[in-house]
């Protein structure tokens, strides 16, 4: 469990970090919370020649509701979110749910949302939640910073839109109106386990009780988190009902394309995708005062 030799660089600002990344290109990796990168290095599955540690880059230590977006900087920890004073507002219920089930309490002290998105594990929790909440990631490249829609950011397993020499500065979650709530449902074998299956849901209602906007996404259901477009389309404009929810669950089950592994078989995980979407929708609606 000893990593291969590497050079360690501590960046005190994001500019400094970016300069290092530009200099070392593909040889360098950003070190955020280290909860995914360090284990990979200890198993020698990852062998970066240079580590650029951004933990001292205080300009990335951002966690605030900024006008119409919640800004989460590259070194904001999962535990910061879990304890944020505004987190109990039901608009953030999806994010709150995730912040309490991602990894375990110890890992959450160090792990970051942005690091998790950049890592893009097929069974990650923040990826699915970001899809459902329609987040955008700010990526800094040679030509400056650009905002990338989460759907475009998550390219493939362990692959993102962050190119060589680039870095992610933060992620933005749009602030929803007051008639919005979400939920995250995860089946895990134990605390600290990646999801066997998980469903992220966010719903906004119109004044007449019909669904204005729906985000439905799955984790551990493909090479990376997937959006269940069919379910979202089904829900939009409709009045919540048991049949509608069941149909959305069935769509999720169909959309799920998991791998069989020690966590479970393909059939089991596909079943879970449906069950968890149904439960998450019910929970989100109940947070909005709707029983369906």
């Amino acid at each position: 469990m000893i990593p291969a030799a590497f050079t360690y660089l501590r960046a005190h600002t994001s500019d400094e970090a970016f300069a290092h990344l530009q200099q070392y290109g593909a040889e360098a990796r950003v070190l955020a919370g280290g909860q995914s990168l360090i284990p990979a290095m200890r198993f020698r599955l990852a062998r970066p020649a240079v580590l650029v540690d951004i933990n001292a880059s205080s300009d990335l230590n951002v966690l605030r509701v900024n006008g119409n977006a919640l800004a989460v900087g590259a070194i904001a920890r999962d535990s910061d979110i879990e304890r944020a004073p505004w987190i109990t507002d039901r608009r953030w219920s999806l994010i709150r749910d995730v912040s309490r089930v991602v990894a375990d309490p110890v890992v959450r002290q160090m792990g970051t949302v942005v690091g998790s998105l950049c890592h893009n594990d097929p069974a990650g929790d923040w990826t699915a939640a970001s899809l459902a909440a329609r987040a955008e990631v700010t990526v800094r490249g040679k030509d400056g910073a650009r905002d990338v829609k989460i759907d475009d950011f998550l390219v493939d397993s362990f692959t993102t839109a962050v190119g060589e020499g680039e870095m992610a500065l933060g992620v933005h979650f749009p602030v929803a109106d007051d008639r919005t709530a979400g939920a995250y449902q995860k089946v895990e074998r134990k605390v600290g386990d990646f999801a066997t299956a998980a469903a992220a849901v966010q719903l906004s209602l119109n004044a007449d009780g019909t669904i204005r906007e729906a985000g439905v996404a799955l984790s551990a259901a493909g090479p990376c988190a997937v959006r269940v477009d069919e379910a979202e389309q089904m829900l939009r404009g409709q009045r919540p009902s048991a049949e509608l929810i069941r149909a959305a669950g069935d769509a999720a089950s169909r959309r799920s394309a998991p791998q069989a592994d020690l966590r479970g078989s393909v059939e089991y995980k596909k079943n879970l995708a449906g069950v968890l979407v149904v439960r998450a929708l019910r929970q989100a609606l109940s947070r909005l005062g709707v029983q369906a």
């Binding site: 030799a5 074998r189 020690l262 079943n271």
Partner: protein, 782 residues
């Protein structure tokens, strides 16, 4: 004369563990805390293949890695006569470093010594091994065909290691054939691993006197010393084995591992101390595992549920080497306890063991003794029989229990159960859990289609190996020992041949001495694990410390007391025959006012001993007359989520009878720990190999250790039926919860699923398996 008469005893007192402040404050001293000037680090090259010929090993690149001092291979060891190690029961031998071929994935192939841990790992990575893969035998049923012979080094060219049986084969077959009711089920106890938080490791050093100083994670330091003397030829007086604080053992730290031998060889060859510390992956993939028993269980009964016969035929997967630590006469350990708590008129048990391309071991979690497998088989099968007979599993058990008045009870498979009161223990359990109310709730839930289950396990353990006429390791009889010295001011030290790995010996041993001598256990120091100072003993495993070393401590203390009596007589100015030990002090018979405390006697033993030999100490080597038989009645209550297959253990109650309780707090701690292990085994843990022999559980992401967050809240209770042959009546408890609980969990799950027609699911009971079983039933009924 007497100033502070001690009236209360020390047994049964929930004294806080003396060792805890040290451990809780991170002040424990483990092998990896040892550092010596000039110390080198060892890293092992391991095989990526489960079965392959080694064409060549090229170490040239490794020797170029900065800091690498030496690389040794199996050929080097073979040349030095150290190519193979005998396994503990002497029935097989094991490669230290692979010679000619590898037999399991992660097998040790070469040893790299370097100035730093990092350089050693870099060096190991640079060793080039050319392998030619061979066909893999990944399960014992394939092994049985002998199409591929794994161990051509052995005289018999077969994968079959041994056949062992006990009981009356013909009578059992006849009784089964004539039984009005019969059940038969294949029950697999999966391969699992105890995964102690501290993995294995050692520091080997030859001191200026040429003496081997060997610090090692060992549950049996004396046995190591003797084994090393036999294997290496170093005279035993030139070997000093020290087992410092251990971060858990569970049998995983009983065997002598190749890394230890390599560290010693490196220290000798290079002339510098060598440290070897395993990684988690190395621990999970190459060290002592547990179980892997496929048991075909058959029970016969009358229509009203009286047991008529038991037959168990087991196919055992021992991996690449038969490296278990069974006593020589017992290749399948104490599997004969498979009749459990029940009065079978006739029984027959047999075990056939096979080599496969998997890690060797079969030693951890009291696995060499095979009691857990046996208990699980009988307790699971009793529920299957109850289902077949359509009677309450509690009633079936009650009807067939060995009755209180039958003790000492000769079981048909050859044990003499010392004591027990199974009815009473079960009654306590039923009362405490509120069985009738639960049954009522279950009926209501079932009517609503909800899945709720109640599962029992009323097991009998056999521990305390063991009587010299039956038990040995490497020929050494399985006694244990204690040596007690009482200092002039009335404090003292006790040393034993056992070695605590978390069992709390520093506290309980002091309590036994305190009880026997009327001294304050806070001032009785306990020292174990150092072969230069501790008396010879066989170590701590198989719940043997209290039954064997605990007895030795009581007996040594009584010897101290006899010596003290002489001094007391002198002090009280009466003849020795007129002195009696009463209320924890010596007094003149019939004159309680004339008394002396042990503390006063201790001082006199050094200052005013008159004609008596000075000093106050004694030792005792205890050869137990019989094993002890702890028992328990456990119950689990579960609720199952139909849609996800999730099993929630709502309640779990363990009522244990481990005889006299020395320290209820320590016993409770042992039970909580063992139940948590049993819970993990029932629901999470399996060392799984794919068909190609690849180990799929090489770290804690894939081999799950439950945390406090998913572990059920344990409820406990007790009955006390002392052992009639143990000096203080204690039986041992460490392993009971691990032995007894898996069946209770599984029985509860199957009980919940029984309305769907489910009869058995092998552990670990994952959500996926439960969901499939439910799904299958739903498909059948629609």
């Amino acid at each position: 004369m007497s100033t502070e008469p001690k009236s209360a005893g020390c047994l049964g007192v929930a004294m806080k563990r003396k060792e805890d402040p040290r451990f809780i404050q991170g002040k424990g001293h483990y092998v990896d805390d040892i550092s010596m000037p000039g110390m080198l680090f060892l890293s092992l090259v391991r095989s990526p293949y489960p079965h392959a010929e080694i064409k060549s090993i090229d170490i040239s690149e490794a020797m170029q890695v900065p800091g690498v001092k030496a690389v040794i291979t199996g050929k080097d060891l073979e040349a030095a006569g150290l190519g193979w190690l005998p396994t503990f029961h002497g029935l097989d031998k094991q490669m230290v470093l692979a010679i000619g071929k590898v037999l399991f994935q992660y097998q040790e192939v070469a040893a790299v010594f370097a100035e730093t841990r990092a350089a050693a790992v870099d060096g190991a990575e640079a060793v080039q091994v050319d392998y030619a893969p061979l066909p893999v035998v990944a399960d014992p049923f394939t092994a049985k065909t002998d199409e591929v012979i794994l161990r051509p080094d052995r005289e018999n060219k077969t994968n079959h290691i041994y056949h062992w049986e006990v009981g009356d084969k013909d009578k059992t077959a006849t009784a089964l054939a004539n039984s009005p009711k019969r059940i038969k089920e294949r029950i697999w106890f999966q391969r699992c691993h105890p995964a102690p938080l501290e993995p294995c490791g050692c520091v080997a050093h030859f001191d200026s006197m040429g003496r081997l100083q060997f610090y090692v994670t060992s549950q049996a330091p004396h046995v190591y010393r003797t084994a090393l003397a036999i294997v290496t030829g170093i005279p035993e007086d030139k070997i000093h084995v020290v087992s410092p604080d251990l971060g858990g053992g569970f049998g995983n730290k009983v065997p002598v591992y190749p890394g230890y031998v390599c560290a010693i060889v490196g220290a000798l060859k290079i002339g510098r101390p060598v440290k070897w510390i395993e990684t988690r992956t190395e621990n999970l993939t190459s060290t002592g595992f547990a179980r892997d028993y496929h048991m075909d269980v058959e029970i016969g009964a009358t229509a009203d549920g009286r047991l008529t016969a038991l037959h168990v035929a087991t196919t055992a997967d021992h991996g690449a080497f038969d490296a278990a630590a069974d006593p020589t006469k017992y290749p399948a350990g104490m599997f004969g306890v498979v009749t459990g708590s029940y009065d079978f008129p006739v029984a027959h048990a047999e075990v056939d063991a096979y080599f496969t391309n998997k890690a060797p071991g079969g030693i951890a979690y009291r696995c060499s003794f095979r009691v857990t497998e046996a208990s699980y088989a009988i307790e699971r099968a009793m529920d299957i029989l109850a289902d077949e007979l359509a009677i309450d599993p509690v009633e079936l058990r009650r009807k067939n229990f060995v009755r209180k008045e039958q003790f000492p009870y000769p079981s048909v498979l050859g044990f003499t159960y010392d004591s027990g009161d199974y009815q009473k223990t079960l009654d306590v359990t039923l009362e405490k859990i509120g069985y009738q109310a639960l049954l009522k709730e279950q009926v209501e839930k079932r009517a609503r289609g909800e899945l709720m289950g109640i599962g029992f396990s009323t097991f009998t353990e056999v521990v305390g190996a063991g009587p010299s006429k039956h038990f040995d390791i490497l020929g050494i009889k399985m006694f244990d020992s204690a040596e007690i010295r009482i200092h002039p001011t009335g404090s003292g030290i006790v040393r034993t041949g056992t070695k605590s790995q978390g069992q709390g010996h520093e506290t309980t041993w002091a309590q036994i001495v305190g009880e026997e001598l009327g001294l304050d256990p806070q001032n009785i120091m306990v020292e174990e694990g150092d072969t230069d100072t501790a008396p010879y003993g066989l170590g701590t495993y198989a719940s043997r410390s209290t039954p064997v070393a605990g007895a030795a401590i009581a007996m040594a203390a009584r010897r101290v007391r006899e010596k003290a009596r002489k001094v007391a007589a002198h002090m009280l100015e009466v003849g020795e025959a007129d002195v009696e030990w009463k209320d924890y002090k010596f007094q003149v018979k019939g004159v309680p006012a004339k008394s002396v405390t042990m503390k006063e006697v201790a001082f006199a033993a050094y200052t005013n001993m008159a004609q008596n030999e000075p000093g106050l100490e004694a030792s005792y080597y205890y050869d137990p007359p019989n094993m002890t038989f702890p028992s328990g009645a456990y119950v689990a209550v579960v609720d199952i989520d139909r849609e996800t297959g999730e099993v929630k253990v709502r309640r779990f109650l363990a009522v244990d009878d481990c005889g006299t309780i020395i320290n209820p707090l320590v016993v409770e701690g042992q039970i909580h720990g063992g139940l948590t292990e049993g819970f993990a085994i029932a629901f999470m843990q399996e060392i799984q190999y794919d068909k190609e022999g690849n180990n799929l559980n090489t770290n804690f992401t894939d081999y799950l250790i439950p945390t406090s967050l998913e572990t059920p809240a344990w409820e406990t209770g007790k009955t006390v039926t002392p052992s009639p042959h143990h000096p203080i009546g204690a039986k041992g408890v460490g392993e009971s919860p691990n032995v007894g609980s898996p069946a209770a969990f599984v029985n509860a799950v199957i009980d919940a699923l029984s309305p769907l027609g489910v009869r058995h699911i092998d552990m670990p009971i994952t959500r996926d398996k439960v969901w499939r079983a439910i799904r299958q039933a739903e498909v059948l009924t629609t």
